[in-house]
Point group: C7
Chain length 90, copies 7
């Protein structure tokens, strides 16, 4: 991966099923947030040292958060803060 996150950042590739359905603002039926899913592609040194995530992990993260970035393979990624990642799916 040609992108090295800084600070608390983690680069994530969103799972395809999410990309299709997440194009609008959806008010969930029960007024609770539903997370999105993705694969960790790259971590900042600081996040790496915490030892809770590694490249390739499938993660669930909060819906409204992150910055989208198009890298030079012209694919969309998401830069998330570690605190926006809720957990790892085994």
């Amino acid at each position: 991966m040609n992108f090295k996150p800084l600070g608390e950042c983690v680069l994530v590739e969103r799972s395809e099923e999410d990309t299709k359905t997440a194009s609008g603002i959806i008010i969930p039926d029960n007024a609770k947030e539903k997370p999105l899913f993705g694969i960790v592609k790259s971590l900042s040194d600081k996040v790496s040292k915490e030892g809770v995530l590694k490249e390739g992990d499938k993660v669930a993260f909060v819906k409204y958060g992150g910055t989208e970035i198009k890298l030079d393979n012209n694919k969309e990624y998401l830069i998330l803060k570690l605190e926006d990642i809720l957990g790892v799916i085994a």
Copy 2:
């Protein structure tokens, strides 16, 4: 459980009686919050180390909080922050 929470997160399965009644926003008669109940299914390492909760605990938690997640057994769970959990029912 195939979900490992990160940070301050705890995975909880909501008790059935709550699922039925909690589908709308309810203004309680006396303007105080009423908690919901559930069973702890999985904890982050950080929460585990604090030693105040373990898998299988029945907990009361604040009503408006948490992120709903459907895991691959297609069952709904709730990801809560430890601070949203008020106590353990013996």
Copy 3:
């Protein structure tokens, strides 16, 4: 008591005189808050260690705060944060 508070929480049984009069939002004549009263039923380990409260203490607490909980003896209790408790009445 079959409820063990977590974190900064304290389980309190409200005094009866308060239950009767506290059913609405009351704007006090002089725009100052008036506290409510109750008996401490159970404390988190963290609050216990601070050594400022014990079970059976009669306490005054801020009016707008806390989460109501009905435990399995079907009686209403209040879960308060320690910081919402103003003092102990001897």
Copy 4:
């Protein structure tokens, strides 16, 4: 005094001249707060240890702050946070 404040709290008996004039919201002519006065009746252990106040001190405190409490001698007192007390009058 039969009331033991907790945390940052101080129990104060308001001076009579203040009780008469403080019954409404007063916008001071020059848009600056004017303090109220009272006598310290009881302190939390934490405030006592700071050594800046003792029972019997006459204090000036910020106008909009504190919780009124009627103790069993049926007299009104004010529970203030230490930070709401501006100084001691010699």
Copy 5:
């Protein structure tokens, strides 16, 4: 001085020229705050220990801040937080 400030407080006697002109809310022509001036009359022990101010210093302070207090010589003073004092005029 018969007033001993607590915490971060400093007792200041406003300079006369300010008292005359500061009776209303003035929007400065260039939308920047202009400070007021006064003489330090008394400091809390905590402020004294910081060693940056002493009684008699002429200070500039932010306009909107402080609590007015009339002490028993019936003169008006201002209780300011140390952080509201911008500097000392030599």
Copy 6:
């Protein structure tokens, strides 16, 4: 570079493609922020010591942030806080 940033600041020269498209407020189709890109020209000593950035790095940064500055070569630069920089592009 004749500008030495202070505190958490980093001086960045925006990439040309961004300068063209970033002249208005753009609401991205999917309500997520898209970063801008640039080249690091100068860092504060504090940022240098953190060792995560160096002059010449190509960085992605959050869109709404920073202060524009025209230096004496009459070229526009952007002063960013380190926390506004999301990562380095290799």
Copy 7:
């Protein structure tokens, strides 16, 4: 200079070109802040000890910040917090 700043304060003399153009609220074309410039005239002891600024430095600072002060040579100065100063121009 007859003014000694306290705390995080720095006394700055605004550059003349800025004084002329900064008399109104200007919405910059690209919705980014543009800094103003000036010369450091005096620093608090605390800011001096940080060793990042000295008297005579030409600095860029954020536009909306600071308190204007007219000192006894009847000249206008600006009291800024160190955090409002973006960098030093060589």
